[in-house]
């Protein structure tokens, strides 16, 4: 039965050697184009990239920041992948992240004086619930009413971000005059310890590692992950096989939102110690990019996150040191996607053309002797 199922699946979504090879070429070309842009705008590419690598790995602190960024990217990337596996695009992770962070901050600032072993798990529950439920909303709209989830999730991002900004400036605003906008601080006892002093790398990396393992297991090794994959690739077939596709889509959406909510919690409990309106700077979109480049493969996402984190953290150092705007990194990252798309498209065109030529040759080869026989 399983073999029959597997034979029906298109096997091209795997991260094969050919795919990784084309990825390497794309990354190299994108970095080259980035160098060209530096040259054209009057900077030295060698100097720029040297500052980038040094800024990402040069000191213990820089290394910690890069790893911390990799944690955020892999969590958001995995969130995208979990939903995409079941065939639903969660573009609303940014909003889910904000709500999760807000919920966790409320728990941490209201329940002061509790043992951390009780309060922190409660904060996790709050973040998971807030993020998960908020993701469930477009999920239900998609499954029950067939409303396009891409548009609704994007709209819900803005709704959540403005709502949280309202809360942090209004009803939940801290009495502390020194804070521009934000909720009350969480109890210091709940703050995650730093793994590398002075860097952004906190104990959230440990939680993230556990969550990443869990994601990998569910997506790649469990029955439910397999059913999700089938639902994503061929929902009609999955339904005929007796799978509850609607429920699978909803669960994967909720899981995706929960992961984003947890990222919000990480930001609050690890770094800012309170909810602030600038909690995330489009972290989810960066993670989405990683997930799309790695074709939603969990292991690939974690590895690629480290590379993207290097670009991101190093990019800031490059801006400070050499003066090249760090947005260059966004350009390089999106160009990687364009190159990947171009390569797979060109490969397909070449394959089709070759197939057509081979077919024509076969027909001609057969026709000629037949024609001779009849004449």
């Amino acid at each position: 039965m399983m073999r029959l199922l597997r034979s029906l699946l298109p096997g091209r979504r795997k991260l094969g050697f050919a795919y990784l090879f084309s990825l390497a070429i794309s990354v190299a070309l994108a970095l080259l184009l980035g160098a060209l842009m530096m040259r054209l705008t009057g900077y030295s590419p060698v100097e720029g990239y040297a500052a980038l690598v040094k800024g990402a790995f040069g000191t213990r602190r820089a290394l910690g920041n890069t790893l911390a960024k990799a944690v955020t990217l892999s969590m958001t990337g995995l969130a995208m992948a979990v939903a995409a596996q079941a065939g639903i695009f969660n573009v609303g992770g940014e909003g889910q992240l904000f709500l999760g962070g807000m919920a966790a901050a409320i728990v941490g600032s209201q329940l002061t004086g509790w043992p951390a072993a009780v309060a922190v798990p409660l904060a996790f529950v709050a973040a998971i619930t807030a993020g998960g439920l908020y993701a469930l909303l477009p999920g239900v709209l998609k499954v029950r009413l067939k409303v396009n989830e891409v548009i609704t999730t994007i709209m819900l991002n803005s709704v959540a971000i403005y709502l949280c900004a309202y809360l942090a400036n209004g009803p939940l605003r801290t009495a502390d005059k020194g804070i521009a906008a934000g909720t009350n601080a969480i109890d210091p006892a709940y703050v995650f310890p730093r793994l590398i002093p002075l860097s952004n790398l906190t104990a959230s990396a440990v939680y993230a590692a556990v969550l990443a393992l869990l994601c990998w297991y569910v997506m790649k090794r469990s029955t439910i992950g397999y059913e999700m994959k089938l639902t994503g690739q061929n929902p009609r077939f999955a339904r005929y096989m007796g799978m509850k596709t609607d429920r699978l889509i909803l669960w994967s959406m909720a899981a995706s939102g929960a992961l984003c909510g947890i990222v919000g919690l990480f930001e609050v409990y690890g770094l800012h110690r309170r909810f602030i309106p600038s909690l995330s700077n489009e972290f989810y979109f960066d993670g989405m990019l990683v997930a799309m480049i790695m074709r939603y493969d969990p292991v690939g996402i974690v590895l690629m996150s480290v590379f993207f984190a290097m670009l991101k953290i190093g990019g800031t150092a490059m801006e400070l040191g050499v003066g090249i705007s760090s947005e260059l990194i966004l350009i390089v990252q999106s160009i990687i996607i364009f190159f990947m798309a171009a390569q797979s498209g060109l490969a397909r065109i070449v394959r089709e053309r070759r197939g057509r030529r081979a077919a024509r040759r076969r027909i001609e080869g057969k026709n000629v002797p037949q024609g001779e026989a009849t004449s």
Binding site: G42, I151, N157, N169, S325, F338, A341, R348
Partner: protein, 305 residues
């Protein structure tokens, strides 16, 4: 209440609706050939940036529009090559295009003008504004029709032109056929691919105009990420409008109204974050309502049959 519902509210409605109308017409073009253009937001943003560049360096608003159009057409062609020729996923290319546009505009803002965040300069020439004193005497309609910038009128005309072209000309018929029955179109001797390219290019043209209105229409400046998800609202408008230009126009006016109402309420001391939320929330609610209603209509049709 009378402070809020004024002529100025309606004037603001027209002003804020215009970029959504123009972007909506662009999305509509690709929608008819069966491509959902999520990248509209980024195309608009790029258009807005190059409108400022053109206007600043060429010293004329025409130069600004020309630069915005050029940027739009190039991005439209770029999008078309990937989605049509290379068969890439339009969603992935759209998302990548948005990120690319966000990065490119800020990078160029930094390297060309040496500023971060926003760029405004007296040397940027805004779009011309048409004031007709004889019209302004007419109550309500007069102040609405007079005193708008060029692209407001252009957008109204384009709604009509698009409707005529799509539903009343062979070209529009081919465009729609390229989306609905590409094989029949091919057997009629017309290439669906060519129609799709045409739609992508037109989409770029509209994106350029929408961007030019954003940065040269009323503000005369470029700010980072100034499209503020308007491209996505335009996509939503096309879904509400079911592909018909007049209906997309009405949907865009509705969003313009909500946006303008929010601004008015803000001056009436309602929290700005809550009012800013409104257009996005309304989009979600409207999309759900629309789908429920069309489903119900379908069901009724089946029952009566």
């Amino acid at each position: 209440m009378s402070d809020i519902f004024t002529i100025a509210l309606l004037q603001n409605t027209l002003r804020t609706a215009t970029p959504i109308i123009l972007a909506g017409l662009g999305v509509l073009m690709t929608d008819h050939v069966g491509i959902m253009n999520i990248g509209m937001d980024g195309m608009m943003l790029t258009g807005a940036f190059f409108a400022v560049v053109g206007s600043f360096y060429l010293g004329s608003w025409l130069g600004g529009i020309a630069a915005a159009l050029l940027a739009g057409v190039l991005l439209g062609l770029f999008f078309g090559v990937f989605v049509i020729k290379l068969g890439s996923d339009e969603f992935i290319i759209g998302v990548a295009l948005n990120i690319f546009a966000g990065g490119l505009t800020v990078y160029l803002l930094r390297t060309i003008f040496g500023v971060k965040g926003a760029f405004s300069d007296p040397a940027i020439v805004p779009l011309p504004r048409f004031v007709w004193p004889w019209l302004e005497g007419i109550p309500v309609i007069g102040p609405l029709l007079s005193g708008n910038t060029l692209l407001v009128y252009v957008s109204w005309a384009l709604v009509l032109v698009c409707w005529l072209v799509i539903y009343r000309t062979p070209l529009g018929f081919w465009l729609r056929a390229a989306g609905e029955h590409p094989l029949s179109l091919r057997s009629a001797g017309i290439s669906p691919e060519r129609m799709k390219y045409l739609a992508s290019l037109l989409c770029g043209v509209f994106a350029g105009l929408a961007g030019a209105h954003l940065s040269l229409g009323y503000l005369t400046m470029f700010t980072e990420n100034m499209s503020a998800a308007r491209g996505f609202i335009a996509v939503a408008c096309v879904i509400f409008g079911a592909g018909s230009p007049p209906r997309v126009f009405l949907a865009a006016l509705l969003f313009g109204f909500i946006d303008a109402l929010g601004l008015r309420l803000q001056s009436a001391n309602v929290n700005s974050n809550l009012t800013a939320m409104a257009p996005y929330l309304v989009t979600v609610v409207m999309m759900a309502v629309l789908v429920v209603r069309t489903e119900a209509r379908k069901k009724r049709q089946i029952q009566t049959r």
